[in-house]
Symmetry: C2
Subunit: 133 residues, 2 copies
Amino acid sequence: MDTELKIIGYARSDFKNRSETPKQGCEGGIEAVLEIDEAYLEAMDGLKEGSEIILLTWMHAADRSYLKVHPRGDETRPKRGVFSTRSPDRPNPVGLHPVTITGIDGNKIRVHPLEAIDGTPLIDIKNAYSPKA
Amino acid sequence: MDTELKIIGYARSDFKNRSETPKQGCEGGIEAVLEIDEAYLEAMDGLKEGSEIILLTWMHAADRSYLKVHPRGDETRPKRGVFSTRSPDRPNPVGLHPVTITGIDGNKIRVHPLEAIDGTPLIDIKNAYSPKA
């Protein structure tokens, strides 16, 4: 079975480290740019300003060995299995980001609000409105 | 960079082929079972009946070479880039399934409504309510 991820591009963001990012895009995410690999340009057809999309990233700064964490990093809360949290530290650190497209220029897609750090690999973009698309 | 996916378990479903499944869980998905690999049991801590989760799968029956498709397989609709659709055929066939847990028994999580086919590899489970978790 072919389970090798293809990196379709990278996030360009003013957030440079995990420590400075909010937990979720809706909690202080910023405008950022998705730089799509030219090989996948055709797959962008149909995306436009105002489109609501679900971006999937590979959170490369995560620790994949964690099975339990303090929810939201709050040590006053008891540890819980990562599958019942949104911690980036998990066996497969796939980031799930609902964002809106604020502009497109060639292979560059401007989105808001994103909490991913600069250089985060992108693995998928999906239409946010599944039943219509 | 470590981008090798870890398979955390498999879906067990009465849907055996792509041709018999609905496009989305909310369009006729059924109750199905997530069989979690014993190595990830600890990561399940905190999940319970009634929990709303986002399941990520690896849609192994997808064709990863497609960059454009007819939306919803409807040939009367013009082809569009896969990133503006929910087609399973895409560079990284990550399935995104919002489901509710209807029961847990050891390493088996019963969920509803799921449209994934029997044997689909599982790659992640996330709490559906990001800001609280």
